[in-house]
Point group: none
Amino acid sequence: MTAQLRADARRNRERILAAAEAVFAERGAAASTEEVAARAGVAIGTVFRHFPTKNDLLGAIVKGLLARLAEEADALAEGGDPEKALFAFFTHVVEEAAARKTVAELLAGGGVDVRVGKPLERLQESVGTLLRRAQQAGAVRDDVRPDEVMALLAATSQAALLGGWDPDLRNRTLKIVFAGFRA
Amino acid sequence: MTAQLRADARRNRERILAAAEAVFAERGAAASTEEVAARAGVAIGTVFRHFPTKNDLLGAIVKGLLARLAEEADALAEGGDPEKALFAFFTHVVEEAAARKTVAELLAGGGVDVRVGKPLERLQESVGTLLRRAQQAGAVRDDVRPDEVMALLAATSQAALLGGWDPDLRNRTLKIVFAGFRA
Amino acid sequence: MTAQLRADARRNRERILAAAEAVFAERGAAASTEEVAARAGVAIGTVFRHFPTKNDLLGAIVKGLLARLAEEADALAEGGDPEKALFAFFTHVVEEAAARKTVAELLAGGGVDVRVGKPLERLQESVGTLLRRAQQAGAVRDDVRPDEVMALLAATSQAALLGGWDPDLRNRTLKIVFAGFRA
Amino acid sequence: MTAQLRADARRNRERILAAAEAVFAERGAAASTEEVAARAGVAIGTVFRHFPTKNDLLGAIVKGLLARLAEEADALAEGGDPEKALFAFFTHVVEEAAARKTVAELLAGGGVDVRVGKPLERLQESVGTLLRRAQQAGAVRDDVRPDEVMALLAATSQAALLGGWDPDLRNRTLKIVFAGFRA
DNA sequence: GATGAATGAGGATTCATTCAT
DNA sequence: AATGAATGAATCCTCATTCAT
């Protein structure tokens, strides 16, 4: 019985997270918690029961996203062609960004202070692995460091999203960055 | 008398703009209009008389900034060493960004929608000139286009600011971008 | 089985009362029912099953306290020195008050309206007995009535608690009241 | 013109204070600020413009009351019969209390923390004067101190109000306290 | 009977904007 | 034109109470 209830709660938690991701992606982190609740189909109190603070909700979203990205990076590192894996991941992330307003804002720390140290480090490690392998394959210069990759990843993701780059501009811009990694 | 008053009004307009730039730079675009008024030494009503909407005020600031940047770009294009002018300008803008919260937010469209088409085009033209000259000097690959430069400029400015890059990371990251422009 | 359950229920009821007394004593009547539940080690629903309303819970606590006070008064009336018993009881109650936030608030009706007619009458009877014996011993003027004693008891208890009297002020103040009873 | 406006503002400020006094007197300090605004006939924002915090509003009320009491005490000290002035003032305050819920709560510090050190000291000084004169006139024992008078004043005021004493009980109770002062 | 998740009204506070002076 | 007081919608958050499990 308790298990049942917890299942309900978990379902709600996930609905809230999904709703929040959508709402914040559309309207930015300034969107109201009430709108998240409405989109999730729950009462406002339920949102605050699961995430005692709006900030907690934002933090949960970002942590989730970062974790997902790290997993994707790991998958690419294991399976794919080392020469292309890093660039493929980079491209993928930037494309994704175009669909998520919050991510960029929050990765950036835009006004909201969300502490995501842990998940961010994990992502950097995964990216580091991709980088090392690309370097071993000779696809990236040896003196490029993980924090530089992360920095350009964040920069292009934000810009792609917020600046409303079209796919063509996005590709051309990434090409330049990738050329910078190579030469 | 009317002329007198208009002079007053113009002075007020400028004080408000200056105050707004300062306040929004420090506190971000979420800072209150009242704080701008206080810093400008005028009453809140005066701010709204000059800028009927907070958004108008934000727009005016960004337009001003973009215009200033365009002028700087032009100055460099006329005077400086074509091989270095583009990179110097690029570096300068990114460094500046670290001191201005609003700029990045607004260039990005963070929450607020400010229409700055004209001044942005003007800046792009100036940057285009810098680019052309750098290409003629052989410092940048020929197929790099102005909108790509603008895109990376915006991206690194935002990221440098919001991500809190330290000067070292900033330099290393720009080096990669510049390498991408070259080869 | 039903009997078993009722034993559980009774135990829960008492744990809740104890927890409520502690919580409300510390945080005042504004403390949340949830905190009471937590301290009692039961779920919030259980609290509301036993006391359908927060007010009911508060009422139960006050009734319990009044009953306890009446018992103490009775004990003093039977055993102690009639000359001192009333003053000892009075002093004791006021001292106690300093440790109980709710009591004063509730005796006072602070925001919450709790009906405690019966237990209050019983306390007044006990106090009446103490008074009568003190009068017979010549320690208190004959025209002092029980409701006056009760009134001053409530007054000094509340004030001692809420006003944060230090022990010295408390003693000096009580001395004046006792002098009023005597002469 | 500015003066006009300020007149409006002052009028509003006073309406708000009056409304607040009434509302908090009826419903206790837990009454909502919105109700105060409604009773004052202003929008909620106006209340917060004048008193940035609910607490500030409560503080203002209490300070005002204490000041008023101090003035009354001073007036009695100057004009009246020293033998009766202190008791008259004491009686008056307790009678007044019956009409004011907040006062008692706040003097007591009931939940809300309002800092009224200054006005309270001033009142104590005024009461001290009344006391000294009563002592010089031989109406009060010499070893009674001002803080004891204040303590009993607060105690009886609260109790009279919150306990709902009827006039008869009030008078009889005060007689006991006064007897304590004398003997 | 117990559990604890969900509800949703209520409350304090902020702030862009309007408007009387 | 400037002033700054007033407005009131919007927002975050709390908590008594209900109800499905």
